[in-house]
Structure formats: C-alpha cells, structure tokens
C-alpha cells in the first residue's frame, strides 16, 4: 500500500497534463482525494503493536548500496495522513481559484505531494535525502511562477531563489553526511543505507559530531529555526496561498520528523552532546517567532512567524530526549499542520475581502460573516493552545518532557505558551473585530471555501476531543527513537559499537 500511496499523486499529475484546462484542477483534486483515501486505509489497517509495516524493500542501485525501501510506523503514519489531508484541501482550494497554466501547476502540486510522502515513507537514508531534496523542485516552480511580485520590486523568482539556496545548503551537506554515515558504518564491508541497519551500529564519536551538524543544518533550515529563517519572510510573501498552506503545514514537519527518524537513532552520542545547543536554538525560535508574530502587520508573516515559534516548541520537545516530550512533539506536528493550513486559507479569504494583506487595513469582518468568524475563532484558539484543544495536550507533553530533562529550559518555553495567546488573539481581533475600514467588504464564507475550510476545522475539533487517537499509535515508535539516546553517555557504549573515529578526509592512519 505504501507504493500506491506514494505514486498515486504523481500519476494523476502526469495524466492531468493531457486534460483540458478546466478539468485539470478537479482531476488533481480527485488524485489528492484518492491519496487521502489510501492514507486513511493505511491508518485503519495500522497495528500499533507492530513495528514497521507495509514495507517495500527492493534493491534500487545495488552498485551503490541504495535500496528503494518504504515503510509505515508510528512516527510517520499521522504525518502521511496529514500530508494527504492538507494536499486535498490545498488542491481543492487552488482548483476553485483556477491558476494560469493549470496542467503544469497541478502537476507540480502533486509532484510535491509525492516527494513529501516519499520523505516520510523512506526507510533508506539516501532515499530519504533524495525525496527531501526533490520536495524543493516543485515548490520552486510553484512559488516562482505562480507567486506574487512585491510592489517594492522584489520578484517572486528572486524570493524563491533565496529559499532554494538556503534550504539546499542544508540538504546537500546532508547528502555528503548520509553517504559518509553509510560508508563509515560499513567499515570496508557491504555498504547499506537502511536506517534500521545503521541504527544498530552507531558511529564513532568524532564522526557523529560533524555528521550530526550536517543533518541538523538541513532540518533546522527547513523548519525554519531562528538564525536560519532568512528565506522565510520573502518566500512566504511571494508564495501563492493554497501552496503556502501545504508548504507551511507539512514541509516544516519533515525537518522535525528527520530529527526523530534519522538523527536521534543514528547519532545518539552527538545528540546528547549537543542537546543544549539545539534547545537554545529552539527556545530562541520560540521567543523570536512569538515576538515577530506579534509585531508584523502582514498577515502571512504573522502566520509564518507563529510557525517558527511552534516549530521551536516541537524541536524542544524532541530534544528533551524523553518519550513524553517526543510524544508531544509528534502530536504537535499534526496539530500545527492542522492549524496552520486553515490559517492560510483564512488569510486568503481575508485578503480577498480587504484587498490587502496588511493588518492595518483590516477589521470588522465578523460583522456580516459569523460563520467565517466562528471557524477562524476555533483555529485561533487551537493556535494558542487553549486548554481543551489537542494543541494544549501537545504542548503539555512537550513541557512535561522538558521539565523532566532540563528544568531551566522548561521555564523559558512556558513563556512561549503565553506569548502565543498574544499574537493569535491580536490577529483575530485586528481582522474580525475593530472598526471596519473603508473599502473592505464583509462577506460570508461561500460554499466553495467552506468545503475546504470546514473539514479542516472539523479535524481540529475532533482531535481536541480525542488526542489519544494519535498518542496511542505513535507512542511505541517514538519511545524506540528516543531510547537510543538514553543508552548514550552514562552507561558507556553499546556492544555493537564498531567503527573507530575516522578523520574527515586526507590521511589514512
């Protein structure tokens, strides 16, 4: 089933190229919906007691030791579902808005879905890197060719180039690091890049150190984390909103997922060693993201910076290196995706009503649009992790883990919870309440947008009632991922430790 999940979107996208212009969008939405169906079937069939399931393992490039190996476990099952769900919503939203050159647009959209699903499904390190890099290609076209140029002359293509260069800096170094991991672990024997195999034989200390940072750089840029977020404001302002909804909802999570899937199990010693460095970056992201989200006037950037803060939370949860923190992080990944995607859909609706994306030119929109206001309110309350929402549960677990691990960091992170209320409520108030400016049309949400928005909001509400749905399925896999780091340090090395320190290059001892 993994195979059909992975390739259905691309197959639909390629066929869509040959369809008439008007049909392309609906055909693509159908493709995304079929994928969603497969993802739901995958979840229904999921056995939380078993490990990796629905595995596919075929030799791909035997000469280089690369396998085409996919699998579903507790770490990725909900992220796959989230991906399929948000893509269905995003594709439908775009289909209503009829972009130019629809054949190519929807091909890129669905190629992006395949690449993202591939990154989540991949159980081979190089296959993961391949899909991780591949994700960028369709988004490059989507942002650059269908994005909006800014009035100050900064073009969408320039903003996109910046994004690509930033993110690829990380991923190309990750390619080198991934290959090095395989070769050093093989130590002259048969090379394998299977993540499970590699996790059984952690590398030597010295190699782990530099390889850890090469991976961490790729993942932190993708999130984006504080100091590595330079591409985010320009790219977010240029991107078309339906695309941005899936981009912000899913792609940032690939980075966080990468930490859980690759970094913690494969480089446990380095993870423990650099735990505090990453925690500092995470906390800085929370504080900086919250502060920026509170001061920005562009609605996209409010949502964008709030993501920086949320991803900071998720990173902090993972690097608590305790099962409860990581559990919370996985739940929060799903939550954040479910919250931020409708947020961008709402941003698009707001912009259509006010003719601008500036907060100062908005207000009073709740007046004639109570349904839209209600939907927005639910999203807002979820964003600020109101008790009762699944986000509250997620943040609670994260803070719980952090308290157990590093109590000082937990105090700082707790401030972030409060800050979220500031920017989320400000966004809601400034757009929905306040005085209605001239030229703004307060219009109720139409059925077309409702079809997209209501199911997403329903998912938020559903998950708020029953977060256990996620937690009980992910728990086992998350524990396994974090367990590797628990053995590191205090009790000495595991017996399977094989490879000695190897220098980065040059001389062979």
């Amino acid at each position: 089933m993994s195979n059909s999940l992975l390739w259905t979107p691309l197959a639909f996208g390629l066929v869509g190229l040959f369809l008439p212009r008007r049909a392309a969008g609906w055909w693509a939405t159908a493709g995304a919906a079929v994928t969603l169906g497969i993802a739901i079937a995958l979840l229904a069939d999921f056995d939380s007691a078993a490990g990796l399931q629905h595995t596919v393992d075929v030799e791909w490039i035997p000469g280089l030791g690369v396998d085409y190996s996919l699998g579903v476990d507790g770490l990725n099952v909900f992220l796959l579902l989230l991906t399929a769900l948000l893509w269905t919503a995003g594709t439908a939203f775009a289909a209503f808005r009829e972009p130019e050159r629809p054949g190519t647009f929807f091909l890129m959209m669905l190629l992006a879905e395949t690449a993202t699903l591939g990154a989540f499904l991949a159980q081979d390190l190089l296959l993961f890197v391949l899909f991780f890099d591949l994700m960028l290609v369709p988004f490059y076209f989507l942002f650059g060719a269908w994005g909006t140029d800014r009035p100050d002359g900064k073009t969408a293509s320039a903003a996109t180039l910046k994004m690509i260069v930033y993110t690829l800096i990380g991923s190309l170094l990750m390619l080198v690091a991934a290959i090095a991991t395989g070769i050093i672990a093989a130590d002259g024997g048969d090379i394998t890049f299977s993540i499970a195999e590699l996790a059984r034989q952690p590398l030597g200390d010295g190699s782990q150190r530099w390889i850890f940072w090469f991976f961490a750089a790729a993942f932190l840029v993708k999130m984006p984390a504080f100091l590595l977020h330079g591409w985010m404001p320009d790219a977010y302002r240029a991107a078309p909103l339906p695309v941005l909804a899936v981009f912000s909802g899913v792609l940032a999570k690939v980075g966080a997922y990468g930490f859980l899937r690759v970094v913690l199990p494969l480089f446990p010693d380095a993870t423990v060693e650099f735990q505090e460095v990453v925690l500092v970056i995470a906390l800085a992201s929370i504080l900086y993201g919250s502060a920026m989200a509170f001061t920005q006037t562009n609605v996209r950037l409010v949502a964008g910076y709030s993501s920086v803060a949320q991803l900071g939370f998720i990173t902090a949860g993972i690097f608590a290196l305790r099962p409860d923190g990581a559990d919370g992080a996985v739940l929060q990944m799903v939550n954040h995706g479910l919250v931020v995607a409708p947020l961008f859909v709402i941003v698009a609706l707001l912009a259509e009503r006010s003719g601008s994306e500036d907060l100062r030119e908005m207000g009073g929109m709740a007046l004639r649009a109570p349904v839209l206001a209600a939907l927005f309110l639910i999203v807002t309350l979820a964003t600020l992790a109101m008790p009762g929402s699944a986000n509250f549960v997620g943040e609670f677990f994260i803070l719980n883990g952090l308290f157990g691990a590093k109590i000082a960091y937990a105090f700082v992170a707790a401030i972030g919870v409060a800050l979220a209320a500031f920017y989320a409520l400000r966004l809601y108030q400034r757009t929905m309440h306040n005085r209605k400016p001239e030229g703004l049309v307060s219009r109720e949400i139409g059925w077309r947008d409702g079809v997209v928005l209501v199911p997403l909001v329903a998912c938020i509400v559903g998950l708020a009632f029953y977060p256990q749905l996620v937690l009980e399925r992910t728990d086992r896999a998350v524990e396994a991922s974090v367990a590797a780091t628990a053995d590191s340090g205090s009790t000495g090395r595991k017996p399977l430790y094989i490879s000695e320190n190897r220098p980065i290059g040059g001389e062979e001892p």
Partner: protein
C-alpha cells in the same frame, strides 16, 4: 633470417579503421556537388557503424598494435559517449551557417577526424599514441571552431583555441620527455615498471614530468587555473561544435588521464593525489563563481563545464575502481544533460535575434514547452537535483570520494553545487517566471550580422533540434530514476582497469 609478419587484431582495430575510412569517404563526397549533400547522412552512418563495432567488442580487453592501444570497456564506454555527442552534433549542424560556409563535406570530415582522435585517445596506453591521439582530436577542432567564417568571434575562438591548445600540447610533450628520460619507456606499463625498478619514486625528474603532463591535460579538460580559454572558445565557436567539444573532448581527455595516472603513475599516487585534489577543489569554486554573472548561455555552460570538470576530476583523484566508475557514470550523464541544453540553445539562436543571450529563452515555458522542458530538466540535472542523472552522478562521486578518504573534496562538491544553483536556476526562472524589471533586454549579438546568422522562425519546431533535446532530457530523467543500467556500464568500465 626470416621475416615474421606482425599479427594484427583487425577485429579490435575495426572501430578505428571504420572511422579512418569514413573520414576519407566523407571528404571525397565533397568533391562533387550532388554528393556533398550526403555528407551528414554518411557521417551518421559512419558513426553508427563505429558504435556497432564498439558494442561488438564489448567485454574484450586486448592490447592492439604492440601495446600502443588497448581496447577495453573503459575505452569502449568513453568512445560511445564521444560517438553520441558527434551524432548529436551532426543533427544540430543541419542548416548551420558554419557548415555551409566551410563546405558540408569538409565540416563533417573534420568532425569525424576529431572523433577518430578521441577514440584513439581513449585507447592510448603509450606516450606516442597518447600524443598522436590528442593532436588528431585537437587540430580538426581548431578549424571547426573557426568555421563560421563571417563571425569575428568564431575566428577569434579558433585562433585562441589553437594558441592555448598548442601551449598545452607543448607542455604535455615536455612532460612526456621527462618521463621517458626517467623511466626509459614510452609504454604506460613500462613507465610504471621503470619507476619501480629504477627506484625513481619521488625523483624530481619524474615529479616534474608528472606535473607537466598534468598541466597539459588540465588545458584539454579545462581544469582551473588552465581554464581561461574555455568560456571564450565556447562562446565563439559555432554552437553545435561547442556542444560536441564540451563533452567529447572532456570524455576522451579524461579517459587518457585515468589510464595515465591510475596505471602508469599508480605507484606515485601519494604525490599526485593531493595536488589533483587541490586542483579539483579550485576548479569547482572558480568554475561555479565564474558562471554566476554570465548572460551568454554558451559562456554560462562553458563555466559550468569547468565546474563539472572539477567534479569529474574528483573521481580520478581517489584512484580507485569506484572513482573511475563514478567518473564514467558522471561523464555519460553529463553528455545527456549538456546535449539537451545545447540543442535548445541552437534552436533559440536560430529562432530569435538574441543569439545565445539568456533573453533568448525568456518566456520559453509558455511559448515553446517542447524546448522549455528539456532545458529545464537539463539545468536541474546539471545542478544535481534529484530524479535526474546529475543527482545520481554526484551521489556516485561523493560515495567514491568518501570511500577514498577525500570527504573534504566531497564537501567542496556540495558547496560548489549550492553556488551553481544560483545560475542554473536563473535560466529556469527566465523560462518560467516573470522577468525582473531591473534587467532589460538588449537584442544584439556581438560580432554577428543578419547575413551571417539568418533567423529561422521555425527552428524551434524542427525535429532534428527538438528530438535530440527531448531524447536527451528523457534520458536524464530515466537514468535519474532507474540508474542501474548506466551504473553497471560504469562498473564494467571501472573494473577494466583495476
């Protein structure tokens, strides 16, 4: 006293013989007007025949002509890359003004002569056949570069290439003299043996020889700091010739580079490995930085070729089977990616008044998707993005480098790739995205006149331009998704040396 007739392995020599005969046939076809029109067809037949003969000899490794040449899987795979590019060059040269000006027969005979030199060079394992092969490939190319007689740039390009190329050849010859003087043999195997028995390891005589030969080859493969001619010559030469030269010369020169360094000088590896690694790193940086500001697509591809030569050199540096395999794989992939790009550049050069300026491809995505897609795939491939053969090639090279304990060079490849994105994606952006208002179009071609470069508004639809572009782009994606066939070919090539 009896005379023993030398035994000639005609089967092994058959590709070389076929090419030599076809050079004469194509040249003679130019004598009569009616037959001159057959020259492109005859050339294609000759190339196909040679390719057939090479594939027939696949799997063989034999010394030919008392060890001056060696036909093995490395030679055959490199020769096939050369033949592919030559066939593409013939197609791209249809209706090319340059071919008409020097005469179609002569043009194609020169092309075949150059191919002959490359096939010889790929097989050379003796200093004499090495040099003869190198000159046989170079001299026709000097003329071909200058074949667009009405364009000043083309003449300049030919002259520049002649001067720089001769300097490179002279340096090479000088180095060969040192090596012969030291080891007392012209055979690669003899040189290796001579260095071993005469205890010449680390001897200054040999080291100077190695250095000079490396410099000579660096000129041919456009490795920094001996690359300065590359962008100028690429820009000035007729575009089909540039397409051929960019890949085929590099392939043949790297073949002999491998044979010479990994066979003849293998015992000296500790001396030349670090030096070549530094050259590779410098080439990667200089090539990629040089390409950043280019507006001319041919110059851009020229600098990109310099950078790619740096990546390819990495495969040589590690002096291992995996390294050679990675090198051959990368060269094959590079051939497809470059071919797609150059076919589109040729089409747009003939179709618009912008020449090879980046303006020529502005808005191509909407105007001519059949050309835009191949160029897009080619650029993404050269930039090493996944699902293209360029990604697998880089993966292969990096794996070989890390295995050979040259991880720092692998990091340079990664860094170079990042820089390269800036210019490859600029071309993609020009095709698919809205223009930057700051950059204005200037429809002018330096050194050209309308008579020299007549505009053919239908060029973008002609099958002999669209088909090579589409096929090469398809191959780029195909071998990016299913690389195993090409990997196996490269592994055979690598194992034939070690």
């Amino acid at each position: 006293m009896s005379f023993v007739a030398p035994e000639v392995d005609y089967a092994g020599l058959s590709p070389v013989i076929a090419l030599t005969v076809s050079v004469c046939v194509v040249l003679l076809s130019a004598v009569f007007r009616p037959t001159e029109r057959w020259a492109p067809g005859l050339t294609l037949v000759a190339l196909a025949t040679t390719a057939g003969l090479l594939i027939w000899r696949w799997g063989e490794s034999a010394d030919l002509v008392t060890g001056a040449l060696r036909i093995d899987e490395l030679a055959i795979s490199i020769s096939l890359v050369v033949l592919l590019m030559a066939a593409a060059c013939v197609l791209l040269s249809l209706r090319e003004p340059a071919a008409a000006q020097v005469g179609s027969g002569e043009y194609h005979a020169l092309l075949l002569g150059s191919v002959l030199g490359m096939v010889l060079l790929a097989q050379a394992q003796n200093l004499v056949s090495f040099f003869v092969g190198l000159e046989t490939l170079s001299i026709p190319l000097y003329i071909l570069c200058a074949s667009n007689l009405r364009r000043e740039r083309s003449l300049e390009s030919g002259l520049k290439y002649l001067i720089v190329g001769s300097l490179g050849s002279a340096t090479l010859l000088y180095g060969m003299a040192f090596l012969y003087g030291g080891s007392g043999s012209t055979d690669f195997a003899g040189i290796a043996a001579g260095i071993g028995t005469e205890s010449l390891l680390g001897d200054p005589l040999i080291l100077i020889g190695i250095a000079l030969v490396a410099v000579g080859l660096a000129f041919k493969t456009s490795i920094a700091p001996f690359h300065q001619w590359t962008p100028d010559v690429y820009e000035g030469a007729p575009t089909p010739v540039t397409a051929f030269m960019a890949v085929a010369t590099k392939a043949a020169a790297f073949a002999v580079f491998i044979r010479f360094f990994d066979v003849a000088l293998a015992s000296q590896a500790d001396d030349w490995q670090p030096a070549l690694a530094v050259l590779a790193a410098a080439t990667i940086v200089i090539g990629n930085v040089g390409a950043l500001g280019q507006r001319s697509l041919k110059r851009l591809l020229g600098y990109s070729g310099v950078a790619q030569a740096g990546y390819i050199l990495g495969g040589l540096v590690v002096a291992s089977e995996a390294g050679v395999s990675a090198l051959v794989f990368y060269l094959a992939g590079y051939a497809f990616m470059n071919l797609a790009a150059f076919a589109v550049v040729v089409a747009r050069e003939r179709e618009t008044a912008f020449g090879d300026d980046i303006e020529a491809v502005r808005g191509l995505g909407a105007e001519r998707p059949a050309l835009a897609w191949p160029l897009t795939i080619s650029m993404l491939g050269l930039a090493g993005l996944p699902a293209t053969v360029g990604f697998i090639g880089k993966l292969y090279l990096i794996e070989a480098l890390v295995e050979g304990d040259y991880t720092w060079l692998a990091v340079f490849i990664a860094v170079g790739t990042m820089i390269s994105l800036a210019y490859y994606l600029r071309v993609v952006a020009a095709m698919w995205m809205r223009p930057d208002p700051a950059a204005t179009a200037t429809p002018a071609i330096a050194g050209a006149s309308p008579e020299a470069d007549p505009i053919d508004p239908e060029a973008g639809r002609r099958f002999y331009l669209v088909l090579p572009a589409a096929l090469a782009a398809a191959a780029t994606v195909f071998f990016g998704v299913i690389p195993q066939p090409l990997v196996e070919l490269a592994e055979h090539a690598g194992s034939s040396l070690f």
